[in-house]
């Protein structure tokens, strides 16, 4: 639901209309192959910017020569990782995937509520794993608050937002966002759930913050992961792309056991669990893909 590849705000992107060296299309395809991150044609300048920053740091003469670094050089795997870091500097936005939000509201919440009808305490727990600066967690919180006005009335919704980066956590706690992070947030929600902060920035209202608990957590830390039990929904978008296969499988194994039976797991827009976990059940929602943890009584969603 969150991460989008954008340059850090301190660097000004090249104007989108400037001609782009065709080699960046090759790099785009390579990046897509290794990470699933795909820059559409009109966003190619962002990829070019990321490459240009690496070109400068490496003191390479041309994009063509940089291509060799990415493909032929002995340190090519490391360089691809550096480039991915450049391309995924944690600039995310709220309401990144409307399709996932729709799936949550129209399918997942009704299912979870039906599963819990017999429970005395009406409680739902969502986890934004690798939450960066909190955009996804607050998206979940706003969605929950909207639902709490109608069918989730009287329910307790808890959102846990974790990240490895202390600075991201602090920024998340402050809940202050620039226009760019709010580009997918409609005016109605902006008025309802935000207050003006410095300049043109907006800050989430206390009632939204109240639903979200931020804490530092390393997804690769088994001990910490074992304590994250009883989740109904886990979102871990565009985070696992930085992990190698075995660590990825281990993290996903933890997610599986941390979820309640019948719970759902969302990955980023181009990510897949194939060959990483065969316990989750892939399901298609309109425009989105999710993974379901089977309940003991049925192995079909």
């Amino acid at each position: 639901m969150s991460t989008v590849t954008q340059p850090p705000s301190s660097l000004s992107p090249a104007p989108p209309n400037a001609p782009i060296d065709p080699i960046f299309r090759q790099i785009r395809d390579l990046v897509y192959k290794v990470s699933g991150i795909y820059q559409l044609e009109d966003k190619l300048y962002l990829l070019a910017d990321g490459c240009n920053r690496r070109i400068k740091q490496l003191n390479v003469r041309s994009p063509r020569e940089y291509w060799d670094h990415l493909t032929a050089h002995p340190s090519r795997d490391g360089e691809i990782r550096h480039l991915l870091n450049e391309l995924t500097i944690g600039e995310t936005c709220l309401f990144r995937s409307q399709a996932q939000i729709d799936a949550l509201r129209k399918v997942i919440l009704p299912e979870l509520m039906a599963d819990k009808t017999k429970q005395v305490v009406k409680r739902l727990r969502f986890w934004s794993a690798g939450c960066s600066t909190g955009e996804e967690a607050y998206t979940l919180a706003i969605t929950a608050l909207e639902e709490m006005e109608v069918r989730l009335k009287g329910w307790n919704v808890e959102i846990i937002a974790t990240d490895l980066n202390d600075r991201s956590i602090e920024a998340g706690k402050s809940g202050i966002y620039r226009d760019y992070a709010l580009r997918n947030t409609n005016e109605f929600y902006k008025r309802k759930y935000f207050v003006p902060a410095e300049g043109t920035k907006l800050q989430v209202r206390p009632e939204v913050k109240k639903l979200v608990t931020f804490k530092r957590l390393n997804l690769a830390d088994d001990a910490q992961m074992l304590f994250m039990k009883g989740m109904d929904l886990i979102c871990c978008c565009n985070v696992l792309i930085y992990f190698d296969g075995p660590s990825k499988s281990k993290v996903i194994g933890h997610f599986f056991s941390d979820l309640n039976p019948g719970g759902y797991f969302f990955l980023g827009i181009s990510e897949s669990l194939m060959r990483l976990n065969d316990q989750f059940h892939l399901v298609h929602f309109p425009g989105a893909i999710g993974y379901w943890k089977p309940t003991p009584k049925s192995d079909k969603p």
């Binding site: 990510e271 194939m274 059940h281 298609h284």
Partner: protein, 300 residues
């Protein structure tokens, strides 16, 4: 399908005179499709493609589309045939022929939505077969392209009833075949089957057209029917349906069609369905371009 209804549909479908805009090229083309590759004469294909200027121009434009993956856009019909190969040319010709199937004024459904769905399904079927061993991708392309031809029949022969079914489907957000059954008493599968028989399509294609919503009823070519069924579902979940979402959740691996394919193609378990879905998303722009090519030349 009950006998009197079958008779009714058959009678009304056979009575259509506006339909056969296609067959002047389609019939020899379908004969060609069934000819063993080694017996096909390339010159016959070139003359078939060149038979109609519009078709020839359309073929060249479609052949230049990245979806048909030719290294360099062909400039002449004979070059196109050489570059693309027989199977591809058949797919392209069929695509172009289908584009002319229905006079513009007859459309009850949105023609853009219809072509986006049919072409999307055709391409997804072909792509899906690339993941399987020994499954003919071009045959699957044809099956995907033609699976909903019953909707064309419904547009022409039963426009009022079909409009009511479409409205019902959209209002209730239910699958179109369910709405057809409710308001018309039969579905595009049945009307398509009648037309397919009249056009003398192959038994396998008829199975696909008749049973793509109920795979287990297929008596032949079950894997092909199952592939079209799943690719059809996938298209509908990725905004390549008929303008609305008829299901909010689909479990393809849990669908009986998955098991049917798995019985003949164990390699299916190696298919990354999520990645496959993203590949389809990546091809959306190209599908839209192809549809506008087909519709613009069809209207010309």
């Amino acid at each position: 399908m009950s006998a009197p209804l079958d008779l009714d549909i058959r009678k009304r479908v056979q009575g259509i005179e506006v339909m056969p805009a296609i067959p002047s090229v389609l019939l020899p083309l379908l004969r060609l499709v069934r000819t063993p590759a080694e017996e096909v004469n390339m010159d016959d294909i070139v003359s078939l493609v060149s038979y109609d200027n519009t078709i020839a121009a359309q073929c060249l434009r479609v052949a230049a589309s990245p979806l048909f993956a030719s290294a360099e856009p062909p400039k002449t019909v004979s070059r196109a045939v050489m570059v693309l190969g027989l199977k591809r040319v058949e797919s392209i010709l069929l695509t172009c022929c289908m584009g002319r199937a229905l006079p513009v004024r007859k459309w009850v459904i949105d023609p853009v939505a219809f072509w986006r769905h049919s072409l999307g399904c055709a391409l997804v079927c072909r792509k899906f077969c690339e993941k399987l061993e020994s499954m003919d991708g071009e045959k699957a392309y044809t099956a995907g392209l033609l699976h909903d031809i019953g909707l064309l029949v419904n547009c022409v022969v039963f426009p009022d009833e079909f409009t009511a079914a479409l409205n019902l489907a959209k209002e209730e957000q239910i699958p179109l075949d369910v709405a057809e059954r409710t308001s018309m008493g039969f579905t595009h599968c049945e009307s398509g089957q009648v037309l397919a028989a009249q056009w003398n399509l192959s038994a396998e294609l008829i199975q696909v057209i008749a049973h793509h919503h109920a795979v287990y009823q297929a008596t032949q070519a079950q894997s092909l029917v199952a592939i079209v069924h799943l690719c059809d579902l996938l298209c509908r979940m990725r905004n390549l349906g008929y303008g609305y979402y008829e299901r909010m959740k689909v479990d393809m691996v849990g669908d009986p069609a998955w098991d049917i394919i798995m019985k003949e193609h164990h390699e299916l378990e190696l298919v990354d369905l999520a990645q496959f879905t993203f590949e389809l998303d990546g091809a959306m722009g190209e599908i839209a371009d192809l549809v506008s090519t087909i519709l613009s030349t069809a209207a010309a």
